[in-house]
Symmetry: C2
Subunit: 497 residues, 2 copies
């Protein structure tokens, strides 16, 4: 088969061979079932590399024009089997090729969750966020409005990658009250604390690196470490938080590069890690040269005694990278989080932040600045704790009164959510289907298990709905629960008969 190749046309040789063969097939010069020359003979005939011919054949196979039969050769495909190459293009453009483009997203559970509950008329017990009335939006808005008109630099400047230096200074007293002795140079401002998890993972974790997560854990954390190709191990949680003895056993065989923990009012279980366990965990990290990623979204939201100080407050040798999000205590709209790290870690993470987005917007940083510089935070937090405590009590009372026997739930001393456990044979995702029909959504617990999924838990949040709606939603949920438990018991009896 002769093909005229033009070596100065700007079109690749592969492409010229490909179109020449398509032309010959479509014009009938090459017939169905006809055998094409071998890669070796064709390449020497055309005086091109074998790779060029090989690639042309590969493309022609994707085009559906030819097929390669192992051990026999390459043949023109029959017309019926052939994809309508030209016609397809003229009718509706096909983007099928995209499906063959590999990506590095093993799971995107968070996005999936968000897509599943966009319904407006559903009472979202799903949302681990604050109700409008609990957000000092009025105060912040007024300050922002003022700031925006007084100081245009928040629109005209990029701002430092590490974050606005005034805001980094302004938060120091807040962190010092948590016994974290830090300077502004060890703080980086994030576009929400989720970005902190992602930056730490993309800086330090790669394929096969060993990462330990609590079980259960906030689902989006799993997404991040899966995306990095980490080997994930899990350690269960009991009343004192992560079971550090089990972690110690794991460290002996697989020293983790990173241990992720959410020690205070853990999302989703609401558990608080004891002071003793915090110290033990840090000691383990020191022994095994592991990084601890301490995620603290809700330690300010306590309903009785304050929780133990953060693990970061005990850290001497730079093992702990500490994340503080403000979405769950001040405002989610700002998407601001703080990362604290020492030594070379902070420099490396600022480098990673530069690569990732050049820095957090100045506008959102400046929106929060007056809040931290004034006495507002100190006024806001006691108010917020009181309101959240009332809501927690409301939900606990309602569950106590109306939930069926066999269902258990956590009694958290702080945070935003309650973890409900069904009898082990029941499936909370199935329950969710029923609940949604009654206008209630919650978070089915299996998405919080990184390795071995458990299906009989779910999370409800008491922070997002207003109180009357919250009471109504939990009451309805209890009704659905009773019916669900009853019908499950009934069907089990049927099966066991």
């Amino acid at each position: 088969m002769h093909i005229d190749l033009d070596r100065h046309s700007g079109r690749t040789l592969t492409e010229q061979i490909r179109t020449a063969i398509i032309d010959r097939i479509q014009s009938g010069l090459l017939q169905e079932g006809e055998k094409l020359p071998s890669v070796r003979s064709f390449s020497s005939q055309l005086e091109v590399s074998q790779m060029t011919v090989f690639h042309a054949y590969e493309l022609l196979e994707l085009d559906g024009m030819i097929e390669r039969v192992h051990g026999k050769g390459t043949f023109v495909r029959s017309q019926s089997a052939r994809l309508p190459f030209q016609d397809q293009r003229s009718a509706k453009p096909s983007m099928d090729w995209q499906n063959r483009v590999a990506d590095y997203l093993p799971r995107v559970q968070y996005w999936r969750m968000m897509m599943q509950t966009p319904l407006l008329d559903v009472a979202k017990l799903t949302m681990a966020a604050l109700h409008d009335s609990l957000i000092p939006a009025d105060w912040i808005s007024r300050q922002l409005a003022h700031y925006a008109q007084e100081d245009h630099t928040l629109l005209t400047e990029y701002g430092p990658i590490q974050g606005d230096s005034k805001l980094r200074e302004a938060v120091l007293p807040y962190f010092r009250e948590k016994s974290i002795n830090v300077t502004a140079s060890e703080i980086m401002i994030l576009n929400g604390s989720q970005q902190g998890i992602d930056l730490v993972a993309s800086t330090f974790i790669g394929p096969g690196d060993c990462v330990v997560l609590e079980e259960p854990v906030y689902p989006c954390t799993i997404d991040v470490f899966r995306k990095r190709g980490a080997t994930i191990y899990t350690v269960p949680i009991d009343d004192e938080g992560m079971c550090v003895d089990q972690l110690a056993a794991l460290c002996d065989t697989r020293p983790p590069k990173l241990i992720y923990t959410n020690p205070t009012y853990q999302n989703p279980t609401g558990t608080v890690m004891s002071a003793r366990r915090r110290a033990q965990l840090l000691e383990l990290a020191q022994s095994y040269h592991s990084i601890i990623l301490e995620d603290d979204a809700t330690s300010d939201l306590y309903f009785g005694d304050p929780p133990p100080p953060p693990i970061k407050s005990l850290d001497k040798y730079g093992h702990v990278i500490y994340l503080k999000g403000i979405s769950k205590m001040i405002s989610p709209g700002c998407r601001i989080g703080f990362l604290i790290a020492d030594g070379t870690f902070i420099a490396r993470l600022i480098g990673a932040k530069g690569i990732s987005d050049l820095g957090t917007p100045l506008i959102t940083q400046k929106a929060l600045l007056p809040f931290f510089m004034s006495s507002q935070l100190k006024k806001h937090l006691p108010f917020l704790r009181e309101k959240l405590k009332q809501r927690r009590n409301l939900v606990l009372r309602t569950l106590h009164k109306l939930a069926p026997a066999g269902v258990n739930w956590s009694k958290p001393d702080g945070g935003l959510s309650i973890w409900v456990t069904l009898p082990a044979t029941m499936n909370a995702e199935e329950l969710h289907t029923y609940a949604m029909k009654e206008g209630i959504s919650f978070l089915p617990g299996h998405v919080c298990f990184p390795v071995q999924q458990q299906y009989h838990h779910f999370r409800i949040c008491f922070s997002y709905l207003d109180e009357p709606l919250l009471e109504q939603a939990v009451t309805t949920l209890c009704r659905v629960l009773r019916e669900f438990v009853q019908s499950n018991r009934h069907s089990q009896q049927v099966i066991s008969m």
Copy 2:
């Protein structure tokens, strides 16, 4: 220390180790005085022979980058005579263990650049950003102040991962004027367009994937793809933009998974890719099932005829992922960018965005919304073009009048910057040292070369300084240039004698 070695790249392993370590030292990830791994441990970690590491260290010593101290080990060379490194640390608890924690940041050149020029009294010809007077900060601030007080949802809600639906609707007419026929569902709102490059890379590119960059290219792009472990190939730029015939030749042997291009007023050269080349590039991507990442920051900033429509406007089969940043045309403080993609690509990228930061802040999105919904953009752009054209003319006039013979520069028809080329034997980084002493900074061009660095170019931006300061800075620069060229010529004569 982690180094991605490509065993099929045609570059020796010794050379790959050498350049990886130079990258880390130059970007500040490896600090002065830091100890490198022993030959034996490094070779076993990298799975290469001890000879390979030994040679790399030998070359690095010749480069003046490291020094081997007999009986102690190999260290990053310190620039000053004394080594206060250890002493400094002994006061504080030792965080040395951190240096043994490998990371995945082969280079962080952008961060390094930003750290190098924080001086206040330097006229920054470096900054590819707009001067305050060119930013409609007053109008946007007033709207934002109004919005913040009227609608508290911008503080109380997370907003969708994909971005505010009203803003995605509001920008449709703007994109349609660029002949990009898009729906709101195919747009994602970013935290600045840099985030778009990072998301596309972290979604589609992994170790060894073949990525093509223009040469020279915006430095932070190199950081992103290096971080993903991509095998980077480069294609030079001529007057018509990327040399597509060279790309075609490359495709025959190494079909790229992704081709990054900045076709309009390219950063740093200011070049515009011709309409013919745009079509050819897309054809190549179609043939080889490659993704084109089209980065468009400045196509609105034309000084004469508008440039050809974006490559995205020609895209039928979803090959082009299009990025539009607004920092260089409206406001950098908002950190807003738009990503346009079709088919399964947009869904995958939204998933990646969720993992990365749960979504762009509502505040910054709402700050821009009125600007796109009103006639402001249409009023702002002609004003901005006229002002930038005046500045470009001012700089070209000054260069023409005062720059020494042998120095050449681009005459861009749009954008923010001019690319200056010295005689090939001269070093723009050396020139920069002199210029900084005279209070002038610019971007030394070698950071824009991903593989084989060229040292005789630099970039100056005419957008950031006010006009009198700009004229003064360029005048001073020309004086420094004359002295530099003269002393270089002189020393060359001395050598040749």
